[in-house]
Symmetry: C2
DNA sequence: TCTAAGTGCGTACGAATGTACACACTTTTG
DNA sequence: CAAAAGTGTGTACATTCGTACGCACTTAGA
């Protein structure tokens, strides 16, 4: 029952594997994600995956959890920085239009996560927690009813943008959010 | 160069295979969709798939095309039936909240299609066409700017609903759409 | 220094997958 | 009726997959 007798050689390896997994998913989709591709992307031997993780599903679950955590933090930071509601509206518009949050890679990963969550309880729970947290960040500035509408906009707008060639009209986005926030007090 | 010398025994088989494919995707995700599962679901022999389709990717592409066509028609029908803008707002609210369009099965398939389109040019084009058509249906009742916002709502709202337990508040949805339509003239 | 215990990896293997293809069957043509 | 041509299927095969596991290596205690 003693403590660990030896420290790991590469303590960051697990996280590097998870980051590599997200790269593979972004590039090939979950349906094209395999142990071997992940190992190659991470630059670790194949056996390292089965050593650190129980199964491929386990890897994917933890990778998505890592992504959700990362996005949730950015989301939270952007919203708590806003002093008042107009600033919050602008911040949300930035989230939707900005190049940090809604980058093509993140959007692809988001789609993959939504799709995968429909078939995996663990990822579904991760997703629910994330949505709950982002809703809470939003609630600091908007009414509960407005939160629901704004949430939907944050979800849907970058999605459509990804499939239209042209970039988003930030002013239109901001105006829409303002309209919703004022109407649904 | 004569015409076909013989008629097919089962001319609907191709479509039945595609419907079965959608069932398999809805149940197992694209990552769990295989020739054998599709054949089993459709009640046809394995060889029938390679006979009618070039590859598994080909089957999935055509299945998604079939789904897009079906949804696009319902979408169009719901919107052209509306006589004026308030009715159109209500119709959109019905699309978002209704049990015909945003059923869990359809939503799951939608997620899968969005995710898969990021890695497949053919499905990406199918998706773009569909979005273009739904945008056109919307444009009969809303300004171009309002169309973009309403489109985002249609996309994002059922998505979030799927992960919250409670059903959508139809009146809230209608009010939001109305607010957007009036503000973005 | 010696030993026990945990760390990490190369390799192998059964299972499952996508696909090809030889072979029957059915209908039309001559 | 004979044969040609297209329809449809059962099966086999190469490949790839996830996963297990024996074996080397490294470090902490005696």
């Amino acid at each position: 029952m003693g403590g660990s007798r030896r420290v790991a050689n590469d303590p960051l390896r697990k996280q590097r594997i998870l980051d590599a997994t997200l790269n593979v998913i972004a590039q090939h989709g979950v349906h094209g994600t395999t142990h071997r591709r992940i190992a190659s992307e991470a630059g670790v031997p194949l056996g390292s995956l089965t050593y650190h993780f129980d199964s491929l599903g386990d890897i994917i679950e933890q990778a998505f959890a890592r992504m959700a955590e990362s996005m949730s933090q950015r989301y939270h930071a952007a919203l708590t920085a806003a002093p008042d509601q107009p600033a919050a509206c602008a911040a949300v518009a930035d989230l939707i239009c900005g190049e940090e949050y809604a980058t093509p890679r993140e959007l692809t990963l988001l789609h993959e996560m939504y799709a995968y969550a429909n078939h995996n309880r663990t990822v579904a729970e991760t997703l629910r927690q994330w949505l709950r947290r982002s809703r809470a960040s939003l609630a600091r500035h908007f009414s509960e009813r407005a939160c629901r509408a704004v949430d939907a906009l944050i979800e849907g707008w970058p999605m459509h943008q990804a499939w239209e060639g042209e970039p988003l009209d930030r002013e239109l986005v901001r105006e829409t959010i303002t309209a919703v926030a004022e109407r649904l007090r």
